[in-house]
Amino acid sequence: MPPGYGYGGGYGGPPAGPPPSNYLVPAILTTLFCCLPFGIVSIVFAAQVNSKWAMGDVRGAQDSSQKAKTWATVSAIAGGVILILYIIVFALAASHSNTSNP
């Protein structure tokens, strides 16, 4: 079933069909676990999806949906990179202390 464009993008009310995914769950997860401000940016865009959709702003809702997805992805990747760097540093520190012990 195609997404509804029944109101021609007018601002009268919610269009027919389901709104685009708001990516709220990944936004919350990356905010809680990646500890970077990117997750909050994702929550801000996620929050705009359904309110824009309710106003009949189809393009705006799709735009916010894409931005919420992008920022959740950025936050997840940044969190993953930091986690890997942390593990490398931790492993190096552990091996260094092992070899330097008399």
């Binding site: 769950v25 809680l32 359904n50």
Partner: protein, 137 residues
């Protein structure tokens, strides 16, 4: 279509396995003692971010100390039931069993999703202020 369904099932199992693995690490280890990754935002700025204390909160929760879990990160504890529901609903939709109900994706009312950025940012601000210590980990 079949490939998409298989990929969705793999995603559900992957997320579940990651959650179980993380829970096992947080239950058996102790994030209060170090050896766990620190929040980079807290490391750099010294401020509490909205996620700070989540690892310790989950550790306390897995040891059934709900009060201490809320003390470490009340926001994460409030979000947890919704995240669990979202996962269960995702499972019922991806693993559609005949006759079993398929839970809808959590469709939060607009006022709630609209308020969420203010709640998260407000939580982050208050827990860094002197009178908001009760919300700081």
């Amino acid at each position: 279509m079949i490939a998409t369904a298989a990929r969705q099932r793999a995603a559900v199992i992957g997320v579940g396995a990651a959650a179980v693995g993380a829970a096992a690490v947080l239950a058996l280890g102790d994030p209060n003692r170090g050896g766990f990754p620190q929040c980079p935002f807290h490391r750099v700025t010294g401020l509490w971010c909205p996620g700070c204390g989540t690892q310790r909160a989950l550790h306390s929760l897995l040891h059934l100390n709900l009060a201490h879990a809320f003390h470490e990160n009340a926001l994460a504890m409030c979000a947890l039931p919704f995240l669990v529901y979202a996962y269960v609903a995702w499972c019922t939709r991806v693993f559609a069993i005949d006759g079993a109900p398929r839970l809808r994706h959590p469709a939060a009312p607009v006022w709630l999703t609209s308020a969420l950025p203010a709640v998260v940012i407000g939580f982050a601000v208050v827990r860094n202020l002197p009178f908001g210590r009760v919300l700081a980990p």
